[in-house]
Protein backbone atom coordinates (compact mmCIF):
# COMPACT_ATOMS: atom_id res chain seq x y z
CA UNK A 1 0.00 0.00 0.00
CA UNK A 2 2.77 2.42 0.96
CA UNK A 3 4.63 1.70 -2.27
CA UNK A 4 1.48 2.31 -4.30
CA UNK A 5 0.90 5.63 -2.52
CA UNK A 6 4.54 6.60 -3.08
CA UNK A 7 4.12 6.04 -6.83
CA UNK A 8 0.85 7.99 -6.73
CA UNK A 9 2.49 10.93 -4.94
CA UNK A 10 5.38 10.92 -7.38
CA UNK A 11 3.00 10.80 -10.32
CA UNK A 12 0.93 13.69 -8.95
CA UNK A 13 4.06 15.80 -8.45
CA UNK A 14 5.29 15.00 -11.94
CA UNK A 15 1.95 15.86 -13.56
CA UNK A 16 1.58 18.99 -11.42
CA UNK A 17 5.01 20.34 -12.28
CA UNK A 18 4.56 19.46 -15.96
CA UNK A 19 1.29 21.37 -16.05
CA UNK A 20 2.87 24.34 -14.22
CA UNK A 21 5.44 24.59 -16.98
CA UNK A 22 2.84 24.61 -19.78
CA UNK A 23 2.09 27.95 -21.41
CA UNK A 24 -1.56 28.02 -20.47
CA UNK A 25 -3.35 29.58 -17.52
CA UNK A 26 -5.86 26.76 -16.99
CA UNK A 27 -3.15 24.12 -17.09
CA UNK A 28 -1.16 26.18 -14.60
CA UNK A 29 -4.19 26.23 -12.33
CA UNK A 30 -4.67 22.46 -12.65
CA UNK A 31 -0.97 22.02 -11.92
CA UNK A 32 -1.35 23.90 -8.65
CA UNK A 33 -4.36 21.72 -7.76
CA UNK A 34 -2.37 18.54 -8.41
CA UNK A 35 0.56 19.78 -6.34
CA UNK A 36 -1.81 20.38 -3.44
CA UNK A 37 -3.22 16.85 -3.84
CA UNK A 38 0.28 15.42 -3.96
CA UNK A 39 1.17 17.14 -0.68
CA UNK A 40 -2.04 15.88 0.94
CA UNK A 41 -1.50 12.26 -0.08
CA UNK A 42 2.12 12.60 1.05
CA UNK A 43 1.02 13.76 4.52
CA UNK A 44 -1.41 10.87 4.63
CA UNK A 45 1.15 8.23 3.73
CA UNK A 46 4.34 9.58 5.33
CA UNK A 47 3.58 8.42 8.91
CA UNK A 48 2.70 4.96 7.60
CA UNK A 49 -0.63 3.62 6.42
CA UNK A 50 -2.71 1.66 8.91
CA UNK A 51 -5.67 -0.28 7.55
CA UNK A 52 -8.94 -0.93 9.33
CA UNK A 53 -8.05 0.26 12.83
CA UNK A 54 -9.80 3.56 13.50
CA UNK A 55 -8.40 5.68 16.36
CA UNK A 56 -11.52 5.38 18.47
CA UNK A 57 -11.37 5.46 22.27
CA UNK A 58 -13.21 2.42 23.65
CA UNK A 59 -15.67 2.66 26.50
CA UNK A 60 -13.86 3.01 29.81
CA UNK A 61 -10.52 3.57 28.03
CA UNK A 62 -8.42 6.76 28.22
CA UNK A 63 -6.65 6.45 24.88
CA UNK A 64 -7.20 4.74 21.53
CA UNK A 65 -5.45 1.38 21.09
CA UNK A 66 -1.72 1.84 20.47
CA UNK A 67 -1.77 0.23 17.01
CA UNK A 68 -4.61 2.41 15.71
CA UNK A 69 -4.21 4.75 12.77
CA UNK A 70 -2.75 8.17 13.61
CA UNK A 71 -5.55 10.75 13.44
CA UNK A 72 -3.25 13.79 13.30
CA UNK A 73 -2.32 13.55 9.59
CA UNK A 74 -5.99 13.34 8.71
CA UNK A 75 -6.66 16.48 10.73
CA UNK A 76 -3.76 18.21 8.97
CA UNK A 77 -5.06 17.16 5.56
CA UNK A 78 -8.54 18.37 6.41
CA UNK A 79 -7.11 21.81 7.22
CA UNK A 80 -4.91 21.76 4.13
CA UNK A 81 -7.87 20.81 1.91
CA UNK A 82 -9.92 23.73 3.20
CA UNK A 83 -7.05 26.16 2.69
CA UNK A 84 -6.29 24.65 -0.71
CA UNK A 85 -9.91 24.99 -1.77
CA UNK A 86 -9.93 28.70 -0.89
CA UNK A 87 -6.60 29.32 -2.58
CA UNK A 88 -7.59 27.51 -5.77
CA UNK A 89 -10.90 29.37 -5.86
CA UNK A 90 -8.97 32.64 -5.65
CA UNK A 91 -6.45 31.50 -8.25
CA UNK A 92 -9.30 30.60 -10.64
CA UNK A 93 -10.81 34.06 -10.29
CA UNK A 94 -7.38 35.63 -10.72
CA UNK A 95 -6.75 33.57 -13.86
CA UNK A 96 -10.02 34.77 -15.34
CA UNK A 97 -9.25 38.41 -14.45
CA UNK A 98 -5.78 38.07 -15.93
CA UNK A 99 -7.26 36.68 -19.12
CA UNK A 100 -9.78 39.53 -19.29
CA UNK A 101 -7.24 42.27 -18.58
CA UNK A 102 -4.23 40.98 -20.48
CA UNK A 103 -6.12 39.27 -23.29
CA UNK A 104 -4.00 36.14 -23.43
CA UNK A 105 -3.77 32.90 -21.51
CA UNK A 106 -0.06 32.43 -22.24
CA UNK A 107 2.06 33.47 -19.22
CA UNK A 108 5.12 33.92 -21.45
CA UNK A 109 3.36 36.47 -23.60
CA UNK A 110 2.43 38.42 -20.44
CA UNK A 111 6.07 38.61 -19.45
CA UNK A 112 6.88 40.33 -22.70
CA UNK A 113 4.07 42.81 -22.24
CA UNK A 114 5.44 44.26 -19.03
Amino acid sequence: MAALLAVLVGGLYACGLYLLLRRNLIKLLLGLVLLGHAANVLIFSAPGVVRGRAPLVGEGELAPPPDAADPVPQALILTAIVIGFAVVAFAAVLARRVFEVVGTDDPDAMGDAQ
Binding site: L32, A39, M110
Partner: protein, 521 residues
Protein backbone atom coordinates in the same frame (compact mmCIF):
# COMPACT_ATOMS: atom_id res chain seq x y z
CA UNK B 1 -1.78 34.07 32.67
CA UNK B 2 -1.31 37.69 31.67
CA UNK B 3 1.81 36.74 29.76
CA UNK B 4 -0.01 34.29 27.54
CA UNK B 5 -2.72 36.81 26.76
CA UNK B 6 -0.07 39.26 25.70
CA UNK B 7 1.20 36.85 23.03
CA UNK B 8 -2.20 36.50 21.43
CA UNK B 9 -2.85 40.24 21.30
CA UNK B 10 -0.44 41.27 18.49
CA UNK B 11 -2.41 38.82 16.31
CA UNK B 12 -5.85 39.59 17.70
CA UNK B 13 -5.59 43.39 17.46
CA UNK B 14 -5.33 43.61 13.66
CA UNK B 15 -7.67 40.63 13.23
CA UNK B 16 -10.33 42.41 15.30
CA UNK B 17 -9.82 45.56 13.26
CA UNK B 18 -10.21 43.51 10.08
CA UNK B 19 -13.39 41.83 11.33
CA UNK B 20 -14.87 45.15 12.40
CA UNK B 21 -13.81 46.56 9.04
CA UNK B 22 -15.74 43.81 7.23
CA UNK B 23 -18.83 44.72 9.24
CA UNK B 24 -18.37 48.31 8.07
CA UNK B 25 -18.07 47.18 4.44
CA UNK B 26 -19.93 50.16 3.00
CA UNK B 27 -17.99 52.73 5.01
CA UNK B 28 -14.36 52.84 3.82
CA UNK B 29 -13.71 55.85 6.06
CA UNK B 30 -14.64 53.82 9.14
CA UNK B 31 -12.47 50.99 7.83
CA UNK B 32 -9.53 53.37 7.60
CA UNK B 33 -10.05 54.55 11.16
CA UNK B 34 -10.39 50.95 12.37
CA UNK B 35 -7.22 49.96 10.54
CA UNK B 36 -5.38 52.85 12.16
CA UNK B 37 -6.64 51.71 15.54
CA UNK B 38 -5.71 48.10 14.84
CA UNK B 39 -2.18 49.03 13.82
CA UNK B 40 -1.70 51.36 16.80
CA UNK B 41 -2.91 48.60 19.11
CA UNK B 42 -0.60 46.10 17.44
CA UNK B 43 2.44 48.33 17.98
CA UNK B 44 1.43 48.86 21.60
CA UNK B 45 0.82 45.23 22.56
CA UNK B 46 3.85 44.00 20.58
CA UNK B 47 6.05 46.50 22.42
CA UNK B 48 4.59 45.35 25.74
CA UNK B 49 5.26 41.75 24.72
CA UNK B 50 8.85 42.61 23.81
CA UNK B 51 9.34 44.28 27.20
CA UNK B 52 7.92 41.22 28.92
CA UNK B 53 10.07 38.77 26.91
CA UNK B 54 13.14 40.92 27.45
CA UNK B 55 12.60 40.96 31.21
CA UNK B 56 11.05 37.55 31.84
CA UNK B 57 12.35 35.24 29.10
CA UNK B 58 10.38 33.22 26.57
CA UNK B 59 6.61 33.66 26.88
CA UNK B 60 4.32 30.77 26.01
CA UNK B 61 0.59 30.42 25.50
CA UNK B 62 -1.24 27.14 24.89
CA UNK B 63 -4.39 27.91 22.96
CA UNK B 64 -7.42 26.12 24.33
CA UNK B 65 -5.29 25.12 27.34
CA UNK B 66 -4.24 21.82 25.77
CA UNK B 67 -0.77 20.96 27.06
CA UNK B 68 2.27 21.48 24.88
CA UNK B 69 2.59 18.74 22.27
CA UNK B 70 -1.18 18.42 21.69
CA UNK B 71 -2.48 21.96 21.59
CA UNK B 72 -1.43 24.85 19.40
CA UNK B 73 1.48 26.61 21.02
CA UNK B 74 2.22 30.29 20.68
CA UNK B 75 5.69 31.18 21.92
CA UNK B 76 7.46 34.52 21.85
CA UNK B 77 11.24 34.65 22.20
CA UNK B 78 13.22 37.84 21.63
CA UNK B 79 13.40 37.37 17.85
CA UNK B 80 9.67 36.76 17.52
CA UNK B 81 8.81 39.70 19.77
CA UNK B 82 11.16 42.10 17.96
CA UNK B 83 9.72 41.05 14.60
CA UNK B 84 6.18 41.55 15.92
CA UNK B 85 7.08 45.10 16.99
CA UNK B 86 8.60 45.89 13.58
CA UNK B 87 5.52 44.41 11.89
CA UNK B 88 3.35 46.77 13.88
CA UNK B 89 5.53 49.78 13.05
CA UNK B 90 5.49 49.07 9.31
CA UNK B 91 1.77 48.32 9.41
CA UNK B 92 1.12 51.66 11.09
CA UNK B 93 3.32 53.58 8.66
CA UNK B 94 1.72 51.96 5.62
CA UNK B 95 -1.81 52.43 6.99
CA UNK B 96 -1.21 56.16 7.52
CA UNK B 97 0.29 56.49 4.05
CA UNK B 98 -2.62 54.52 2.56
CA UNK B 99 -5.16 56.91 4.08
CA UNK B 100 -3.99 59.53 1.59
CA UNK B 101 -2.70 57.29 -1.20
CA UNK B 102 -5.16 54.47 -1.88
CA UNK B 103 -7.91 55.26 -4.38
CA UNK B 104 -11.63 54.89 -3.72
CA UNK B 105 -11.95 51.79 -5.88
CA UNK B 106 -9.51 49.78 -3.82
CA UNK B 107 -10.98 51.06 -0.55
CA UNK B 108 -14.43 49.94 -1.63
CA UNK B 109 -13.09 46.41 -2.03
CA UNK B 110 -11.81 46.17 1.50
CA UNK B 111 -8.23 47.40 1.17
CA UNK B 112 -7.87 48.33 4.84
CA UNK B 113 -9.27 45.08 6.33
CA UNK B 114 -6.98 43.16 3.96
CA UNK B 115 -3.92 45.01 5.23
CA UNK B 116 -4.98 44.18 8.78
CA UNK B 117 -5.41 40.48 7.92
CA UNK B 118 -1.95 40.54 6.38
CA UNK B 119 -0.49 42.09 9.54
CA UNK B 120 -2.27 39.53 11.72
CA UNK B 121 -0.89 36.70 9.58
CA UNK B 122 2.66 38.08 9.70
CA UNK B 123 2.55 38.58 13.47
CA UNK B 124 1.10 35.08 13.95
CA UNK B 125 3.89 33.60 11.83
CA UNK B 126 6.45 35.29 14.09
CA UNK B 127 4.80 34.09 17.29
CA UNK B 128 3.69 30.54 16.54
CA UNK B 129 5.51 27.61 18.08
CA UNK B 130 4.01 24.98 15.82
CA UNK B 131 5.17 24.07 12.33
CA UNK B 132 1.74 23.36 10.86
CA UNK B 133 0.42 26.54 12.39
CA UNK B 134 3.28 28.36 10.68
CA UNK B 135 1.98 26.94 7.39
CA UNK B 136 -1.51 28.21 8.19
CA UNK B 137 -0.13 31.68 9.05
CA UNK B 138 1.76 31.69 5.76
CA UNK B 139 -1.44 30.92 3.89
CA UNK B 140 -3.31 33.68 5.74
CA UNK B 141 -0.72 36.32 4.94
CA UNK B 142 -0.29 35.05 1.38
CA UNK B 143 -4.01 35.13 0.71
CA UNK B 144 -4.20 38.74 1.91
CA UNK B 145 -1.12 39.66 -0.12
CA UNK B 146 -2.54 37.96 -3.23
CA UNK B 147 -5.66 40.09 -3.07
CA UNK B 148 -3.75 43.28 -2.25
CA UNK B 149 -1.43 42.64 -5.18
CA UNK B 150 -4.18 41.91 -7.68
CA UNK B 151 -6.77 44.45 -6.45
CA UNK B 152 -7.84 46.91 -9.11
CA UNK B 153 -4.99 45.88 -11.33
CA UNK B 154 -4.21 46.82 -14.88
CA UNK B 155 -2.18 44.74 -17.30
CA UNK B 156 1.25 44.77 -15.66
CA UNK B 157 -0.16 44.32 -12.19
CA UNK B 158 -2.21 41.26 -13.19
CA UNK B 159 0.75 39.61 -14.88
CA UNK B 160 2.92 40.34 -11.85
CA UNK B 161 0.26 38.98 -9.50
CA UNK B 162 0.10 35.77 -11.51
CA UNK B 163 3.84 35.16 -11.18
CA UNK B 164 3.69 35.97 -7.48
CA UNK B 165 0.70 33.73 -6.78
CA UNK B 166 2.05 30.77 -8.76
CA UNK B 167 5.50 30.68 -7.19
CA UNK B 168 4.23 31.31 -3.69
CA UNK B 169 1.68 28.51 -4.02
CA UNK B 170 4.45 26.23 -5.24
CA UNK B 171 6.46 27.17 -2.17
CA UNK B 172 3.44 26.53 0.08
CA UNK B 173 2.89 23.09 -1.45
CA UNK B 174 6.53 22.24 -0.77
CA UNK B 175 6.29 23.55 2.79
CA UNK B 176 3.17 21.44 3.35
CA UNK B 177 4.93 18.36 1.98
CA UNK B 178 7.84 19.07 4.32
CA UNK B 179 5.42 19.32 7.25
CA UNK B 180 3.96 15.93 6.33
CA UNK B 181 7.39 14.33 6.02
CA UNK B 182 8.63 15.78 9.28
CA UNK B 183 5.51 14.50 11.02
CA UNK B 184 6.05 11.10 9.48
CA UNK B 185 9.59 10.98 10.84
CA UNK B 186 9.06 12.50 14.30
CA UNK B 187 5.30 12.27 15.05
CA UNK B 188 5.35 15.84 16.21
CA UNK B 189 4.91 19.33 14.81
CA UNK B 190 5.56 21.36 17.94
CA UNK B 191 8.81 23.21 17.26
CA UNK B 192 10.19 22.72 20.76
CA UNK B 193 9.47 19.00 20.63
CA UNK B 194 10.85 18.77 17.10
CA UNK B 195 14.08 20.25 18.43
CA UNK B 196 14.50 17.26 20.75
CA UNK B 197 13.23 14.56 18.37
CA UNK B 198 15.11 15.72 15.28
CA UNK B 199 18.35 15.76 17.27
CA UNK B 200 17.78 12.06 17.95
CA UNK B 201 16.92 11.40 14.29
CA UNK B 202 20.01 13.29 13.13
CA UNK B 203 22.21 11.10 15.32
CA UNK B 204 20.98 7.90 13.68
CA UNK B 205 20.02 9.09 10.17
CA UNK B 206 21.94 12.26 9.24
CA UNK B 207 21.11 12.01 5.51
CA UNK B 208 17.38 11.88 6.22
CA UNK B 209 17.62 15.02 8.36
CA UNK B 210 19.53 16.94 5.69
CA UNK B 211 17.00 15.86 3.06
CA UNK B 212 14.15 17.04 5.28
CA UNK B 213 15.90 20.34 5.86
CA UNK B 214 16.38 20.61 2.09
CA UNK B 215 12.61 20.60 1.51
CA UNK B 216 12.20 23.47 3.97
CA UNK B 217 15.20 25.36 2.60
CA UNK B 218 13.67 25.38 -0.88
CA UNK B 219 10.19 26.27 0.40
CA UNK B 220 11.43 29.14 2.56
CA UNK B 221 14.07 30.05 -0.01
CA UNK B 222 11.28 30.88 -2.46
CA UNK B 223 9.51 32.99 0.17
CA UNK B 224 12.70 34.75 1.19
CA UNK B 225 13.65 35.27 -2.49
CA UNK B 226 17.18 33.88 -2.44
CA UNK B 227 19.19 32.98 -5.52
CA UNK B 228 18.06 31.22 -7.75
CA UNK B 229 14.46 31.29 -6.48
CA UNK B 230 13.89 35.05 -6.45
CA UNK B 231 12.49 35.64 -9.95
CA UNK B 232 8.90 36.14 -8.78
CA UNK B 233 9.89 39.16 -6.69
CA UNK B 234 11.19 41.62 -9.32
CA UNK B 235 8.33 40.47 -11.58
CA UNK B 236 5.63 41.55 -9.17
CA UNK B 237 6.70 43.94 -6.41
CA UNK B 238 6.82 47.06 -8.58
CA UNK B 239 3.32 46.66 -9.98
CA UNK B 240 0.80 47.41 -7.16
CA UNK B 241 0.22 50.80 -5.49
CA UNK B 242 3.33 51.93 -3.66
CA UNK B 243 1.77 51.44 -0.21
CA UNK B 244 1.20 47.76 -1.00
CA UNK B 245 4.73 47.46 -2.39
CA UNK B 246 6.13 48.97 0.80
CA UNK B 247 4.17 46.53 2.95
CA UNK B 248 5.17 43.47 0.92
CA UNK B 249 8.75 44.63 0.44
CA UNK B 250 9.19 45.40 4.11
CA UNK B 251 7.58 42.34 5.64
CA UNK B 252 6.93 39.36 3.41
CA UNK B 253 10.38 38.23 2.30
CA UNK B 254 11.54 38.76 5.88
CA UNK B 255 8.93 36.25 7.03
CA UNK B 256 10.82 33.80 4.80
CA UNK B 257 14.15 34.82 6.37
CA UNK B 258 12.59 34.46 9.82
CA UNK B 259 11.38 30.96 8.94
CA UNK B 260 14.88 30.04 7.73
CA UNK B 261 16.37 31.30 11.00
CA UNK B 262 13.77 29.44 13.05
CA UNK B 263 14.17 26.18 11.14
CA UNK B 264 17.96 26.17 11.23
CA UNK B 265 18.36 27.17 14.88
CA UNK B 266 15.37 25.73 16.73
CA UNK B 267 13.83 22.93 14.69
CA UNK B 268 16.83 21.26 13.10
CA UNK B 269 20.04 20.39 14.92
CA UNK B 270 23.30 21.71 13.37
CA UNK B 271 23.45 20.11 9.93
CA UNK B 272 26.77 19.40 8.21
CA UNK B 273 27.21 21.18 4.90
CA UNK B 274 24.01 23.23 5.02
CA UNK B 275 25.62 26.47 6.36
CA UNK B 276 28.36 26.30 3.74
CA UNK B 277 25.73 25.80 1.06
CA UNK B 278 23.76 28.76 2.42
CA UNK B 279 26.88 30.91 2.42
CA UNK B 280 27.27 30.27 -1.31
CA UNK B 281 23.57 30.98 -1.88
CA UNK B 282 23.90 34.21 0.12
CA UNK B 283 26.89 35.40 -1.96
CA UNK B 284 25.07 34.70 -5.23
CA UNK B 285 21.88 36.34 -3.94
CA UNK B 286 23.76 39.53 -3.06
CA UNK B 287 25.53 39.72 -6.40
CA UNK B 288 22.63 38.80 -8.68
CA UNK B 289 20.18 41.03 -6.85
CA UNK B 290 22.39 44.07 -7.06
CA UNK B 291 23.29 43.43 -10.70
CA UNK B 292 19.58 43.37 -11.50
CA UNK B 293 19.16 46.68 -9.70
CA UNK B 294 22.03 48.29 -11.62
CA UNK B 295 20.32 47.40 -14.91
CA UNK B 296 16.95 48.98 -13.99
CA UNK B 297 15.75 52.54 -14.60
CA UNK B 298 12.47 52.56 -12.71
CA UNK B 299 12.64 53.44 -9.01
CA UNK B 300 10.38 50.63 -7.78
CA UNK B 301 12.13 48.02 -9.94
CA UNK B 302 15.52 49.13 -8.62
CA UNK B 303 14.24 48.87 -5.06
CA UNK B 304 12.70 45.43 -5.73
CA UNK B 305 16.01 44.03 -6.92
CA UNK B 306 17.72 45.53 -3.88
CA UNK B 307 15.42 43.49 -1.64
CA UNK B 308 16.91 40.36 -3.19
CA UNK B 309 20.44 41.62 -2.74
CA UNK B 310 19.83 42.59 0.89
CA UNK B 311 18.28 39.20 1.67
CA UNK B 312 21.70 37.84 0.77
CA UNK B 313 23.31 39.73 3.67
CA UNK B 314 20.78 38.34 6.13
CA UNK B 315 21.23 34.78 4.88
CA UNK B 316 25.01 35.27 5.06
CA UNK B 317 24.73 36.23 8.73
CA UNK B 318 22.55 33.17 9.34
CA UNK B 319 24.92 30.88 7.42
CA UNK B 320 27.76 31.78 9.78
CA UNK B 321 26.13 29.66 12.51
CA UNK B 322 27.99 26.80 10.85
CA UNK B 323 31.30 28.30 11.98
CA UNK B 324 33.29 26.06 14.33
CA UNK B 325 33.75 29.04 16.67
CA UNK B 326 30.49 29.49 18.65
CA UNK B 327 31.24 33.18 19.22
CA UNK B 328 31.49 33.78 15.47
CA UNK B 329 28.23 31.99 14.85
CA UNK B 330 26.53 34.08 17.53
CA UNK B 331 27.95 37.28 16.03
CA UNK B 332 26.73 36.25 12.56
CA UNK B 333 23.24 35.45 13.77
CA UNK B 334 23.05 38.68 15.78
CA UNK B 335 24.13 40.55 12.64
CA UNK B 336 21.38 38.82 10.67
CA UNK B 337 18.74 39.82 13.25
CA UNK B 338 20.04 43.42 13.31
CA UNK B 339 20.04 43.44 9.51
CA UNK B 340 16.44 42.20 9.28
CA UNK B 341 15.15 44.94 11.59
CA UNK B 342 17.16 47.67 9.87
CA UNK B 343 16.17 46.44 6.42
CA UNK B 344 12.43 46.28 7.10
CA UNK B 345 12.40 49.91 8.28
CA UNK B 346 14.59 51.20 5.46
CA UNK B 347 13.10 49.26 2.57
CA UNK B 348 9.49 50.08 3.38
CA UNK B 349 10.54 53.72 3.74
CA UNK B 350 12.30 53.76 0.36
CA UNK B 351 9.15 52.52 -1.35
CA UNK B 352 7.12 55.22 0.41
CA UNK B 353 9.68 57.84 -0.72
CA UNK B 354 9.49 56.49 -4.29
CA UNK B 355 5.73 57.02 -4.02
CA UNK B 356 6.30 60.60 -2.83
CA UNK B 357 8.72 61.21 -5.71
CA UNK B 358 5.99 59.96 -8.03
CA UNK B 359 3.53 62.38 -6.43
CA UNK B 360 5.89 65.33 -6.75
CA UNK B 361 7.70 64.45 -9.96
CA UNK B 362 4.92 62.63 -11.76
CA UNK B 363 6.70 59.36 -12.58
CA UNK B 364 8.51 56.27 -11.38
CA UNK B 365 10.73 56.30 -14.50
CA UNK B 366 14.11 57.87 -13.82
CA UNK B 367 14.20 59.27 -17.36
CA UNK B 368 11.06 61.32 -16.73
CA UNK B 369 12.05 62.43 -13.25
CA UNK B 370 14.46 65.21 -12.46
CA UNK B 371 15.04 68.39 -10.54
CA UNK B 372 13.44 67.02 -7.40
CA UNK B 373 16.27 68.32 -5.19
CA UNK B 374 15.51 71.88 -6.26
CA UNK B 375 11.76 71.48 -6.32
CA UNK B 376 11.38 69.58 -3.06
CA UNK B 377 14.51 69.73 -0.89
CA UNK B 378 12.65 68.02 1.97
CA UNK B 379 12.02 65.04 -0.31
CA UNK B 380 15.72 64.90 -1.17
CA UNK B 381 16.54 64.67 2.53
CA UNK B 382 13.84 62.04 3.06
CA UNK B 383 15.36 60.00 0.24
CA UNK B 384 18.97 60.42 1.33
CA UNK B 385 18.48 58.97 4.80
CA UNK B 386 17.07 55.55 3.83
CA UNK B 387 19.07 55.39 0.60
CA UNK B 388 22.31 56.08 2.46
CA UNK B 389 21.30 53.57 5.07
CA UNK B 390 20.56 50.91 2.44
CA UNK B 391 23.94 51.55 0.83
CA UNK B 392 25.69 51.38 4.21
CA UNK B 393 26.84 54.98 4.61
CA UNK B 394 27.98 55.73 8.17
CA UNK B 395 26.52 56.69 10.57
CA UNK B 396 23.17 55.30 9.36
CA UNK B 397 21.69 51.98 10.48
CA UNK B 398 22.75 50.11 7.34
CA UNK B 399 26.39 50.85 8.04
CA UNK B 400 26.27 49.03 11.37
CA UNK B 401 24.24 46.18 9.88
CA UNK B 402 26.72 45.66 7.06
CA UNK B 403 29.69 46.12 9.38
CA UNK B 404 28.36 43.46 11.74
CA UNK B 405 27.73 40.94 8.94
CA UNK B 406 31.08 41.55 7.27
CA UNK B 407 33.02 41.48 10.54
CA UNK B 408 31.45 38.16 11.47
CA UNK B 409 32.23 36.92 7.97
CA UNK B 410 35.88 37.95 8.32
CA UNK B 411 36.16 36.23 11.68
CA UNK B 412 34.69 33.08 10.16
CA UNK B 413 37.14 33.31 7.25
CA UNK B 414 34.33 33.35 4.69
CA UNK B 415 36.39 35.36 2.21
CA UNK B 416 34.25 34.77 -0.86
CA UNK B 417 31.05 35.80 0.86
CA UNK B 418 32.76 38.87 2.35
CA UNK B 419 34.05 39.85 -1.08
CA UNK B 420 30.57 39.44 -2.52
CA UNK B 421 29.11 41.52 0.33
CA UNK B 422 31.59 44.34 -0.22
CA UNK B 423 31.10 44.31 -4.00
CA UNK B 424 27.32 44.25 -3.61
CA UNK B 425 27.66 47.15 -1.15
CA UNK B 426 29.57 49.22 -3.70
CA UNK B 427 27.04 48.48 -6.41
CA UNK B 428 24.25 49.41 -4.00
CA UNK B 429 25.88 52.82 -3.61
CA UNK B 430 26.04 53.03 -7.40
CA UNK B 431 22.36 52.36 -7.91
CA UNK B 432 21.32 54.70 -5.07
CA UNK B 433 23.50 57.39 -6.66
CA UNK B 434 21.78 56.61 -9.95
CA UNK B 435 18.37 57.39 -8.42
CA UNK B 436 19.87 60.51 -6.81
CA UNK B 437 21.49 61.97 -9.91
CA UNK B 438 18.67 61.03 -12.28
CA UNK B 439 15.73 61.80 -10.07
CA UNK B 440 16.95 64.59 -7.84
CA UNK B 441 19.93 66.35 -9.36
CA UNK B 442 19.61 66.44 -13.11
CA UNK B 443 17.49 69.29 -14.49
CA UNK B 444 13.85 68.38 -14.89
CA UNK B 445 13.00 67.17 -18.37
CA UNK B 446 10.92 69.66 -20.36
CA UNK B 447 7.98 67.54 -21.38
CA UNK B 448 6.96 66.24 -17.97
CA UNK B 449 3.39 66.88 -17.01
CA UNK B 450 3.21 68.48 -13.61
CA UNK B 451 1.03 66.45 -11.26
CA UNK B 452 -1.68 68.31 -9.43
CA UNK B 453 -0.42 69.74 -6.12
CA UNK B 454 -1.67 67.95 -3.03
CA UNK B 455 -3.66 69.54 -0.28
CA UNK B 456 -1.83 70.08 2.98
CA UNK B 457 -3.61 67.36 4.93
CA UNK B 458 -3.00 64.62 2.35
CA UNK B 459 0.63 65.64 1.96
CA UNK B 460 1.01 65.44 5.73
CA UNK B 461 -0.40 61.90 5.78
CA UNK B 462 1.94 60.89 2.96
CA UNK B 463 5.07 62.42 4.46
CA UNK B 464 4.59 61.62 8.15
CA UNK B 465 5.33 57.86 7.89
CA UNK B 466 8.49 58.50 5.89
CA UNK B 467 9.69 61.07 8.41
CA UNK B 468 8.99 58.71 11.31
CA UNK B 469 10.80 55.80 9.65
CA UNK B 470 13.72 58.05 8.72
CA UNK B 471 13.97 59.23 12.32
CA UNK B 472 14.01 55.58 13.45
CA UNK B 473 16.79 54.81 10.96
CA UNK B 474 18.78 57.80 12.17
CA UNK B 475 18.22 56.85 15.79
CA UNK B 476 19.45 53.29 15.18
CA UNK B 477 22.40 54.71 13.25
CA UNK B 478 23.47 57.22 15.87
CA UNK B 479 22.81 54.96 18.84
CA UNK B 480 23.02 51.35 17.62
CA UNK B 481 23.84 49.92 21.04
CA UNK B 482 20.29 49.07 22.25
CA UNK B 483 19.27 47.28 19.06
CA UNK B 484 22.65 45.57 18.78
CA UNK B 485 22.42 44.31 22.37
CA UNK B 486 18.90 43.10 21.68
CA UNK B 487 20.06 41.30 18.53
CA UNK B 488 22.89 39.64 20.41
CA UNK B 489 20.57 38.47 23.15
CA UNK B 490 18.10 37.22 20.53
CA UNK B 491 20.92 35.33 18.80
CA UNK B 492 22.12 33.81 22.06
CA UNK B 493 18.57 32.68 22.77
CA UNK B 494 18.26 31.15 19.30
CA UNK B 495 21.55 29.29 19.52
CA UNK B 496 20.71 27.83 22.91
CA UNK B 497 17.09 26.74 22.50
CA UNK B 498 17.05 24.99 25.89
CA UNK B 499 15.21 27.94 27.48
CA UNK B 500 12.65 27.99 24.65
CA UNK B 501 12.10 24.24 24.86
CA UNK B 502 11.84 24.33 28.65
CA UNK B 503 9.36 27.22 28.50
CA UNK B 504 7.10 25.39 26.03
CA UNK B 505 7.34 22.01 27.77
CA UNK B 506 7.19 23.47 31.27
CA UNK B 507 4.14 25.44 30.40
CA UNK B 508 2.48 22.25 29.33
CA UNK B 509 3.64 20.37 32.42
CA UNK B 510 2.09 22.66 34.99
CA UNK B 511 -1.35 22.32 33.46
CA UNK B 512 -0.99 18.76 32.23
CA UNK B 513 -3.61 17.36 34.53
CA UNK B 514 -4.69 14.25 32.62
CA UNK B 515 -7.94 14.72 30.77
CA UNK B 516 -9.36 11.83 32.81
CA UNK B 517 -12.20 13.81 34.33
CA UNK B 518 -13.42 14.75 30.88
CA UNK B 519 -13.48 11.16 29.66
CA UNK B 520 -14.61 9.35 32.77
CA UNK B 521 -18.33 8.64 32.86
Amino acid sequence: MSGSWLIVLPVLAPLAAAAAGLLAWRAPRTQGALALGGSLAQVGVAAALLAKVSAGGVQVAQLGSWPAPFGITLAADLLGAVMAVVTGVIGLAVTIYSLADIDEGRRAFGYFPLVQVLLAGVAAAFLTGDLFNLYVCFEVLLMASFVLLALGGQRAQMAGALAYVTLNLLSSALFLAGVGLIYGVTRSLNMAELHLRLAAVAASQPELTVALAGVFLVAFGIKAAVFPLYTWLPASYHTPPVAVSALLAGLLTKVGVYALIRILTLVFPPLPGVPTFLLGVAALTMVFGVLGAVAMYETRRILSFHIVSQIGYMVMGLALIGSPEPAVGAAGLAAAVFYVVHHILVKANLFLVAGLANRVGGSFQLAQLGGLAARAPWLALLFLIPAGSLAGVPPLSGFWAKLAVIRAGLEAGAWLAVTAALAAGLLTVLSMVKIWTEGFWKPAPQQTSQPAPLCRRRLGLLVAPSVALAVLTLAIGLHPRPLWDLSRRAAAQLLDPAAYVAAVAGHGADRASPPAREVAP
